[in-house]
């Protein structure tokens, strides 16, 4: 019953909700980012980060630091926190937490398959995979030659199995098909997650519906923009859009026929929440679109913390942490390559 979660939520979820809110208070603030942006070398960054919660993870790193090491250790912190929460959680929170990682699983699968296609070494690829999306038989992915084998050999035992529908053909894997496969899997994953949240009901379903709808719409716009000028037909493009969200179904009809970015902008400006995003960009410019979407996402994720007694805070925290790691990666890269003027191009402040 919506509105009465306060009476029973704390039986199973109270402790973990308090823990995740504690983690949220450890996210880097604008003052921290200002300090980091002033750094000259990666060692300065390490010194500033050791005063934050990342301290224990970075302090034992030897001195010639690489940006990948910083990112890896920060991700390790996120993984530790996630695993701690997952082992304390009961149903349905544990299923909810697992759903959050399926996106990373899909990305890892695509990474390994693409890498194998380009004849990279499996071990090297495994190191690049996101730790939250690892599963046991992931290394076997390198053996598969086409999608059916991929499914039969490896994916049928993973949580991604239901996302492989009959539409996955036995075509050979090449770059185009892999991207289509990634987007099809992600579409099925988002729809599944959405249905799961609807079943949970209450404040969780309301808050997660909004967050997932934004994700679905953002992916629709990105798919459209990335497929302009490629051989992807309009019908194929439409099949990759999710069946929920603000843009469903009329926005999808219009996006499917777009041939350039100005047409996409014309479609999106009809929807008030997205009008402000597209208004920030002048005509013909699409580099800032990513950052504008990230800013909007961060704004919505922070709003999820305003309400108590729902699971949306866990999803919001994971996403905010990932955004913070993206910020740290961008800052480290700018500092390492001596391009400090471009630092503010892509850093999204959370607080």
């Amino acid at each position: 019953m919506y509105g009465f979660e306060a009476m029973t939520f704390n039986i199973h979820g109270g402790y973990l909700e308090a823990i995740v809110r504690g983690h949220r208070s450890g996210l880097l603030t604008a003052a921290d980012y200002n300090n980091l942006c002033q750094c000259e070398t990666l060692d300065d960054i390490k010194m500033h980060l050791s005063a934050t919660e990342y301290g224990p993870y970075l302090q034992n790193e030897p001195s010639p630091l690489h940006t990948t090491t910083i990112v890896e250790k920060c991700t390790l912190k996120l993984v530790d926190e996630y695993k701690h929460m997952l082992c304390q959680a009961t149903e349905p929170l544990s299923t909810f937490l697992e759903y959050i990682t399926y996106g990373h699983m899909i990305d890892n699968v695509v990474l390994i398959v693409t890498g194998t296609l380009h004849e990279r070494d499996v071990q090297e690829l495994l190191e690049k995979c996101h730790p939250l999306g690892m599963f046991d038989s992931i290394a076997t992915l390198a053996v598969a030659q086409n999608m059916r084998e991929l499914y039969r050999l490896v994916l049928v035992d993973t949580p991604l199995a239901p996302y492989f529908s009959e539409r996955i053909t036995s075509e050979d894997l090449d770059d185009m098909n892999i991207e289509i496969m990634r987007n099809t899997l992600y579409k099925a994953y988002l729809e599944d997650f959405y249905q799961f949240c609807q079943k949970l009901g209450g404040a969780t379903s309301e808050i997660m519906s909004d967050l997932l709808a934004f994700e679905a719409d953002r992916r629709a716009v990105n798919i459209t923009i990335n497929s302009i000028g490629t051989e992807l037909t309009r019908d194929d493009r439409k099949k990759l859009y999710s069946n929920f969200g603000l843009l469903y179904p009329y926005g999808h009809e219009e996006l499917a026929v777009c041939e350039d970015i100005d047409q996409v902008r014309a479609v999106m400006e009809k929807y008030p929440p997205y009008q402000s995003i597209f208004a920030k960009m002048s005509y013909g410019e699409s580099q800032m679109l990513d950052k504008a979407f990230y800013e909007e996402e961060v704004k919505r994720l922070c709003l999820a913390f305003e309400q108590q007694f729902h699971y949306g805070v866990f999803f919001a925290y994971m996403r905010l942490r990932e955004q913070e790691i993206r910020n740290l990666m961008w800052i480290s890269e700018c500092v390492a390559q001596n391009q400090k003027s471009r630092v503010h191009d892509s850093v999204v402040f959370i607080f």
Binding site: A6, M7, N10, Y15, L16, A18, I19, G22, H23, S25
Partner: protein
């Protein structure tokens, strides 16, 4: 009331007033403790989790737990008062109008106190949980949210006051 020999009203007045009194006393203490326990676990689980990152909040936020506990104490006090109101009357007087009145008064008093304390305990518990989480993020919020809790705990007091006034009505017929 005159009526057929089997009617609901007749069934009700044939139930002994002592049954009603005993149930009233049981509800007074039982449901109050239910409310207090409910409130304590709601506050306690949030408090424990939040105190991991912000250990300073533990001592102050025990006040929320104490407010919930007070609700159980109200229930105990009223139950003790109610049981002192119980008197034996001779068998011929058990179904006299005055005995019935006394039985119903104790029953009503028990329900009043029990359910007022149930919702009071719930209210204070939920506010206490939010108080602990807010205090962990920003310590200036604690005192303000405490004021809300104080208003919430007044609800239990209203129940106790009315319950005690009701129980003063519980005068059994004099034994002659």
């Amino acid at each position: 009331m005159v009526g057929a020999s089997s009617s609901w009203s007749r069934a009700l007045v044939q139930i002994s007033p002592y049954t009603f009194s005993a149930i009233g006393i049981a509800i007074a203490i039982g449901v109050s403790v239910l409310g207090a326990a409910w409130g304590i676990y709601i506050t306690g689980s949030s408090l424990i989790g939040a105190a991991i990152k912000a250990p300073r909040i533990t001592s102050k936020n025990l006040i929320s737990v104490i407010f919930c506990e007070a609700v159980a104490i109200y229930g105990v006090i009223v139950a003790i008062i109610l049981q002192t109101k119980l008197e034996s009357v001779p068998a011929s007087n058990i179904y006299a109008a005055e005995s019935l009145r006394a039985g119903y008064a104790i029953f009503a008093s028990g329900i009043i106190v029990g359910f007022a304390n149930l919702v009071c305990g719930l209210c204070v518990g939920i506010i206490g949980s939010s108080c602990a989480l807010s205090d962990a993020q920003n310590s200036s919020l604690f005192v303000k949210i405490l004021v809300i809790e104080i208003f919430g705990s007044a609800l239990g007091l209203f129940g106790v006051i009315v319950g005690i006034i009701m129980s003063a009505q519980a005068t059994w017929p004099a034994t002659t």
